[in-house]
């Protein structure tokens, strides 16, 4: 019976392996259960310190849960368990093994409260525990945490970790973490100088922060070395900061472009001063909200697709509203800019209040799909995904619009009507129909801009108000009647604004941009790219 023997052997092996582990578990468990009686944050902090001192990686789950506020005390037997909330109560699980340990009602358990200081302590404790993790990303995070905390006690553990590390990226981070710990450890001069060099080589904000706090407490030669390292890092960071400003400018420009490109059609091409343009953007944003709300209710798995689904709908809804406004009001007012201005202003108030009555005055939550959350690092640039996607999206919308205007029959007719209405009419183009379609197109584009803006701004009835002035500014600056002008205008204003902001502040920066535009319009009343020939005003 060899099979049975093998089974038995395995059994014994497991028992041998589990034996000492269980003893450790018991010690850990006692410490954890101590949390049930801990009074105040300081007491909890002490227990976390004790657990971290055991260096037992099994505590990772419990500490992680504590930090995210998922650790609860079961009142009946004063045991500490992980709780995941579900309707009416919690599903409990063991804090060390993760095994399910029953359920509890809301009143049967008590949450162990955490604050920021405690979260930091836990993070540092976890840093020490996860250095030996099999997942390279966890090791990287651990190294990063120790780099920030610079705990001198971690040096032996770090040395061991460096010796067995195979991943070069993680190894580099570990070396930096060791250097950071060395600074705090009052090591000999040579060792400290080497550590300073390692940290200076990293060259980012974290390194700068560390060096600055070291410099404040250092003396003599070492202080100078730290000072030199700081100067070097600051120099590179200044270059990156300029790059960052350009990126922020492009990103702001793309938002301006999105908001303005619809207006470039209704105002730029048709000459209608449409004060309700912002509300079209707002309607697009609310369409996104409704789509997301329905998705949340009926098929939460589709959430990441909510924006692609919302795009065509937002276009249709806004274009529909635009069509109604054009047919109902604006077509009676062509050639009377003042009346149009007042009428569309009125329409914008009506739309705002309608949305307020339908959806309530409070902000609505439009979530970011996972592919639009967070950021990635490009050198010292932090680029957030939502901004990057909006830049890409704005350019796609712009390209599509160019295509529609220059390569389709509708576009051809639109241009014909705006350039010479009577001639176009004589050639058999139904100009009123073209007007309606053009206005609907402009409104629809504003609607899809709303989908994008819902990702970075409030979804509230006032959403559009914030963009209407900027949109007009972009269109006027870029040159009325010229799509390329809108593109260049939007990005110019974006970058200009972002370069002024660090020096002048957000408020003054905005004022300065406005004044510059006014001066520019004095010099070139038709904007950057004036339409030549017998055009619009004919």
């Amino acid at each position: 019976m060899p099979v049975l023997r093998i089974f038995r052997l395995i059994f014994i092996l497991i028992a041998v392996m589990a034996g000492p582990a269980r003893a450790d578990d018991a010690a850990l468990r006692t410490m954890l259960n101590g949390l049930a009686n801990a009074d105040g944050f300081a007491a909890i902090e002490k227990i976390v310190g004790d657990i971290a001192a055991t260096g037992d990686p099994k505590a990772e789950r419990a500490l992680g849960a504590l930090s995210s506020g998922d650790l609860y005390v079961r009142k009946a037997d004063k045991t500490v368990l992980i709780g995941k909330s579900k309707t009416g109560g919690y599903v409990l699980s063991d804090p060390l093994t993760g095994d399910v340990a029953g359920e509890a009602k809301r009143s049967e358990v008590e949450k162990i409260k955490v604050n920021n200081t405690l979260r930091r302590v836990v993070r540092e404790a976890l840093g020490g525990l996860t250095l030996a993790s099999v997942d390279p990303r966890a090791r990287l995070n651990a190294a990063e945490t120790i780099f920030k905390s610079g705990d001198p006690h971690a040096i032996p553990t770090l040395d061991a970790a460096i010796a067995r590390e195979t991943d070069p990226a993680v190894k580099e981070r570990l070396m930096e973490a060791r250097a950071s710990a060395t600074l705090k450890a009052q090591a000999p001069v040579a060792e400290t100088t080497a550590a300073l060099e390692t940290i200076a080589g990293r060259g980012d904000r974290e390194a700068l922060s560390l060096l600055k706090s070291y410099e404040a407490g250092a003396q003599g030669e070492l202080k100078d070395a730290a000072g030199a390292a700081i100067a070097k890092i600051e120099q590179t960071l200044a270059l990156w900061a300029a790059g960052q400003n350009v990126w922020y400018g492009i990103s702001l420009g793309s938002v301006l472009l999105l908001a303005a490109v619809g207006l470039a059609i209704t105002f730029g091409v048709m000459g209608v001063i449409n004060m309700a343009h912002g509300e079209m953007v707002m309607i697009g944003a609310y369409t996104t909200f409704v789509v997301q709300d329905l998705i949340r209710q009926y098929s939460p798995d589709l959430f990441d697709w909510s924006l692609p689904i919302a795009l065509p709908l937002a276009f249709l809804v806004s274009a529909g509203v635009g069509l109604i406004i054009e047919r109902g009001i604006i077509r009676f007012l062509y050639g009377r800019p003042l009346e149009t201005l007042l009428a569309t202003w009125g329409v914008s108030l009506v739309l705002q209040q309608t949305v307020r009555s339908l959806f309530g005055p409070t902000n609505r939550e439009v979530g970011n799909p996972s592919w639009m959350s967070g950021a990635f690092q490009l050198g010292e640039l932090t680029i957030t995904w939502n901004r990057l996607w909006i830049v890409v999206f704005a350019l796609i919308v712009f390209a599509l619009l160019l295509y529609v205007l220059n390569r389709t029959a509708l576009g051809l007719q639109m241009r014909a009507v705006t350039q010479n209405r009577r001639m176009a009419s004589s050639m058999g183009i139904r100009t009123p129909w073209i007007d309606a379609m053009t206005f609907a197109l402009g409104s629809g584009i504003a609607g899809i801009a709303g989908v994008a803006l819902s990702q970075i701004d409030n979804v509230s009835p006032d959403l559009g108000q914030g963009y209407i002035i900027d949109s007009f500014m972009v269109v006027v600056f870029g040159g009325v009647g010229n799509l390329w002008g809108t593109l260049v205008g939007a990005f110019t204003l974006g970058v200009l604004n972002k370069f002024l902001e660090p020096y002048a502040g957000a408020v003054l920066g905005k004022i300065a941009v406005l004044i510059l535009i006014i001066l520019f319009i004095q010099k070139r009343p038709r904007g950057l790219f004036a339409l030549k020939g017998r055009a619009v005003e004919a």
């Binding site: 944050f41 300081a42 995210s68 506020g69 409260k113 604050n115 920021n116 200081t117 979260r119 930091r120 993070r123 904000r205 974290e206 700068l208 922060s209 560390l210 060096l211 600055k212 706090s213 070291y214 410099e215 404040a216 960052q244 400003n245 922020y248 990103s251 702001l252 938002v255 705002q352 209040q353 307020r356 309530g360 005055p361 409070t362 902000n363 609505r364 939550e365 970011n368 959350s373 967070g374 950021a375 932090t382 957030t384 939502n386 901004r387 970075i456 701004d457 409030n458 509230s460 009835p461 006032d462 108000q465 914030g466 972002k498 902001e501 660090p502 502040g505 957000a506 408020v507 905005k510």
Partner: protein, 436 residues
């Protein structure tokens, strides 16, 4: 000509009939009920915050009527909409007092709306209950300030962050929207921080326009400012609407509360409703009330509120509690005075003490401010706050800040014989800076 006379007579008759019909019922209504004015914007930019307060007041009045009203008479709410338009606030206030003959008005949110109605209340001698945290530097006989003064919100918040428990913060970013409340609060905070030994280069002050939506540069600035090797915190007086993009940017750029906590004075449960709070857990807010406060009074209040609004997800917030306190104080003062005549009620108000929702009593002080506890709460994943710290006792509202050179010698005491909103203790005379 004849036609015109005829139609004129006809319309005159119509008016007379209408008036005849309307008059008795109107007179009766005035006999029977006590009118309460509600002056909160229901449209325009401030509707987002103020509509809730209108609903809260309607609920409180409804509750009081169920208990039999006040002085044996029922209460009647008169709701007007000043539409977030500051001059309209003054007009509507005048209508409420002189046309509708209200006994008291509950209203306003922004400081500028309050400043715009002040002369009206003074002239027509009525009462305003102002429920929102504000910058202080004011005490007016006709106004009762039930929101927090700076020392009931800003100063304890900074104290908490400076303490070991709050993270021993050494470097401060004071970020706010560019108007009077953040400007004055930041001025007070700056003076306070300097008095605590914080160096000028460790304070960064930043203002943004209303509704600012592009926070990339500022969040990066905060990140850079925070990398000077000292523990850094952001004190935010950013106003309502701009907060959502601000917090979204914070979350996306990965600023964690453990590294750079943001403590906000204008972000409550309502504002968080438009946000996914999972990446914001641990960022802070300082208020005198949180929905999560665990007391029987609060549980009952929330239950009634949800039943009244027929929405079991409706959140409550700090200014609502301020109206709750203010309204109950008014009821008590009216009962004490035996009349709703504003002049007598104003005198009866001082010293009135009513239960608040955080488990204690709030009292009206001679300077027309109230005593409240100060709570520091952390944002949780469910959009609620969890109290992590609170002042050991009640904090009395200080109308004239002790940290500003202009106002440190001023006090307010509306009891006779002083009856002064800006008494200068150095000169012993009534009248210094400020209104009236």
């Amino acid at each position: 000509m004849r036609g015109m006379t005829a139609s004129f007579t006809k319309s005159l008759a119509a008016v007379a009939i209408a008036a005849g019909l309307a008059w008795p019922s109107l007179a009766q209504a005035q006999e029977d009920t006590i009118k309460i004015g509600i002056l909160h914007s229901l449209s325009g930019t401030m509707a987002i915050s103020e509509t809730t307060l209108k609903d809260a007041m309607l609920m409180l009045i409804d509750e009081q009527n169920k208990k039999g009203g006040v002085l044996g008479r029922k209460l009647e709410a008169v709701v007007v909409d000043p539409a977030s338009n500051w001059p309209l606030f003054a007009e509507k206030a005048r209508d409420l007092i002189s046309k509708d003959k209200v006994a008291a008005v509950f209203g306003c949110w922004t400081s500028v709306s309050r400043k715009s109605v002040l002369p009206v209340f003074e002239e027509l001698d009525n009462i305003l209950f102002y429920p929102v945290q504000y910058e202080g530097e004011e005490s007016q006989r006709n106004v009762f300030y039930t929101g927090a003064a700076p020392n009931q919100q800003a100063i304890p918040a900074v104290d908490y962050l400076m303490s070991e428990e709050g993270g021993s913060v050494k470097r401060w970013v004071l970020a706010g929207t560019d108007y009077v409340y953040p400007q004055t609060t930041n001025k007070i905070l700056e003076a306070y921080l300097k008095s605590k030994g914080v160096a000028a280069e460790d304070i960064m002050i930043n203002y943004t326009p209303f509704g600012h939506s592009d926070w990339q540069t500022i969040v990066t600035d905060i990140k850079n400012f925070g990398s000077a090797g000292k523990k850094t915190a952001v004190v935010s007086t950013i106003n309502g609407d701009a907060n959502v993009p601000f917090y979204k940017e914070l979350a996306n750029q990965g600023i964690k509360a453990e590294d750079i906590p943001v403590i906000a004075f204008s972000v409550g449960e309502e504002e968080l409703a438009g946000l996914d709070t999972a990446p914001l857990v641990g960022h802070l807010a300082a208020w005198n009330y949180f929905q999560s406060v665990d007391t029987d009074a609060n549980a009952e209040f929330i239950e009634k509120w949800r039943a009244f609004t027929k929405n079991d997800k409706r959140v409550t917030n700090d200014p609502m509690e301020a109206h709750y306190i203010g309204f109950n104080m008014w009821v008590k003062a009216v009962e004490k005075a035996g009349t709703t005549e504003p002049d007598k009620v104003i005198d009866a108000m001082i010293g009135v003490s009513v239960p608040n929702l955080s488990g204690g009593y709030s009292a009206m002080m001679p300077n027309h401010h109230i005593t409240k506890p100060v709570l520091i709460g952390e944002i949780q994943e469910d959009g609620q706050f969890e109290t992590v710290w609170q002042t050991p006792g009640l904090v009395p509202g200080d109308e004239w800040s002790d940290y500003l050179p202009d106002s440190k010698e001023l006090i307010a005491d509306w009891r006779a014989p002083m009856s002064c909103g800006n008494f200068n203790v150095a000169t012993g005379k009534c009248g210094g800076k400020g209104v009236n």
